[in-house]
Symmetry: C2
Subunit: 163 residues, 2 copies
């Protein structure tokens, strides 16, 4: 199974493509979609094009995104939600299964501690994916952690199903 | 000029199409886009299709939407923002000029009082658009009020430019 993990944003969208085979996890690709500082409708149209291109190039089996929690900056949170709306719409149009996980769920799945700090998450992402270096920047590390969370959760679910 | 006013939502999107000619305002069409209770990505894809169809049928010169303010229900506010993201993306793809107005700005423009109540707004919408009855439901009345706001604001701007 190939999972696309996405850390949504208006300005920066982190993504990480992870393949699972048995208990093995492997990174296929990771990166950032950076949108130019143009007016909002044009920016969302840009994200639409870029995200569709990413899906057609990578052809994942499922999409996992970070659940939005209320940030200190409310305006930013709304802008992120608008961009996420476009991303989820594309998933809907392509029939791509989707799951979302809150930051504590990701930390719990990856580190085993729902209040782990960023460094611990990065360390475990690096270890689980057998990377030579810590994944960077933060948006990409978060996207990979979300993809890993979905991989681990899906494994538990499919084991459960087999019983 | 033909203005499409939109009151965004995930479940219900109110819209009103208003034509301005000199100081005259006329409703061309109004209605609701109601999305089925399916999973979120499919629902956003539904909104995408319906909104594109609405634009191709009505061919407006500009789009005006309600600015999101923080509601009591935060989850609802995020869902509305996701739907609005899809709507604005379509506007961006079609090169449609866009403006947004907060509820107090709409009340100020339509009633002349930024803290007017819903009934006063409906009364003035009916009067300004020469309607036989109060516009209903609320989502449609709000969408028409947003279109009127944009019409009145654009008039002021263009008068200002002539000087």
């Amino acid at each position: 199974m190939v999972i696309l993990g996405v850390d949504p944003g208006l300005e920066r969208i982190g993504y990480g493509l992870v393949r699972t085979e048995g208990s093995r996890l492997e990174v296929l690709r990771h990166g950032l979609i950076l949108s130019p500082r143009i007016n909002l409708p044009d920016r969302l149209a840009f994200i639409h094009r870029e995200f569709r291109t990413l899906l057609s190039e990578t052809n994942p089996d499922s999409l996992a995104t970070e659940r939005l929690l209320f940030a200190a900056n409310k305006t930013t949170a709304f802008q992120v939600a608008k961009a996420l709306g476009v991303i989820l719409m594309v998933a809907g149009e392509q029939g791509l299964p989707w799951a979302e996980y809150s930051p504590p769920e990701v930390k719990q799945a990856v580190v085993g501690n729902g209040s782990a700090d960023k460094k611990q998450v990065q360390f475990m992402v690096r270890k689980l994916l057998s990377l030579q270096e810590d994944p960077k920047p933060d948006d990409v590390a978060d996207a990979l952690a979300i993809a890993i969370t979905h991989a681990l959760r899906s494994r538990i679910t499919s084991l459960g199903t087999k019983r």
